[in-house]
Subunit: 164 residues, 2 copies
C-alpha cells in the first residue's frame, strides 16, 4: 500500500515521480557538453524524499554524472539536502521552497562540501530547481578545481509518470 | 548492453546484485530492535559501485533506516565511500578491501561526518562488510548523540540475484 506523504514534505509533492530531459554544462576547465538526464523523487511516508539522477553524454551515449541523496522537509518553506556524488564528494545544503501558481521553486546553498582523499575538488554548490506543471528545470553553480563560484549546468526535464 | 566492470572496482565484483536479510541494532539511547533489509550494488562501467539500502522494522513492518551512496575503487586494496543518510548526515570514509577464498572483506572508517542543521548528531562511523559465497554480513559502529564510539548494527543477508 502506498504510504501517505509526510506533512513535512507536502510542499515538495510536485517533485514526486520520474523526469527525463536534456541539459548543457560548461566550466572554464572543460569543453561545453550536452547531456540527457533522468531524475526520480520517491518517498516512504517519512519526512524526506529520496532523489536519484543519472546523465549520459549526448555525443557518446556514455554515462556521465550521477548523484543521489535526500531532500528533507524541515519546516515551513525550509528544505535541506544531503547528496552523495560518485566523484567522492558529499554535499550538504539548506535552503528554501516556495510555492508557485502551478509548481514550486527550491533554492539550495551548500553549507559543507566534503570529499574522500581522491575526490574531485569542489568547494561550494548552489542549486535552483523549479517545477512548472509537468516541466522541471534547474541550474547548478559551483566553485571547483580552483575556479571561482560560477554557473555550471542548466537542464529542462519533463514528467514521465505520476508520483510513485 | 551491460557495460564491462571498470578494472578499479573488479575487487568489489562479488558485491554486485541484490541482497536480502535481517539485522539487529542496539545503542545506549534506544531499545534494541530487529530489522529486515534489502541492499543493492550496481555499476555503469565507471570506477565506482552505486549502493542503496533500506530497512523495515520487524515488529511494525514500517520503513526504518535507509541510505545510499557510492563505493569508489581507488587503488589496489583501497576503497572509498560517500554516503547520504536521510537523517541529514553525509558520511565520507576510506578503507581497505581484502580478497578472501570465496569473497571479500571491506573495512571502512569515516574521515568526515557532516550534517544539515537539523541532522542527527553523528561523529564517526566504522563499517566492516564481508561476502562469503552468497552470504553478506556487516557490522557498523558509531559515535552519535553524545555517546562514545561503539557497536550499533549487525546483519546477515543472502544474494537475491546475480550482478545486474
Amino acid at each position: 500500500m502506498e504510504p501517505a506523504l509526510h506533512p513535512d514534505v507536502e510542499a515538495l509533492a510536485r517533485l514526486l515521480g520520474r523526469w527525463s530531459g536534456e541539459g548543457e554544462g560548461h566550466y572554464p576547465t572543460i569543453e561545453p557538453f550536452a547531456y540527457r538526464e533522468e531524475i526520480s523523487f520517491g518517498h516512504v511516508g517519512k519526512p524526506f524524499l529520496a532523489y536519484r539522477q543519472a546523465t549520459v553524454r549526448v555525443d557518446t551515449g556514455m554515462p556521465a554524472h550521477a548523484e543521489m541523496g535526500y531532500l528533507r522537509g524541515t519546516g515551513p518553506g525550509r528544505v535541506e539536502l544531503v547528496m552523495a556524488h560518485p566523484t567522492g564528494v558529499a554535499e550538504v545544503a539548506e535552503g528554501t521552497v516556495d510555492a508557485t501558481p502551478d509548481g514550486l521553486t527550491l533554492r539550495l546553498r551548500s553549507t559543507s562540501v566534503t570529499g574522500t582523499p581522491t575526490a574531485k575538488d569542489v568547494r561550494s554548490i548552489e542549486r535552483s530547481l523549479t517545477v512548472e506543471g509537468d516541466t522541471l528545470h534547474y541550474d547548478l553553480s559551483m566553485a571547483a578545481v580552483g575556479q571561482p563560484h560560477q554557473h555550471h549546468l542548466h537542464a529542462e526535464l519533463h514528467r514521465l509518470d505520476e508520483a510513485s
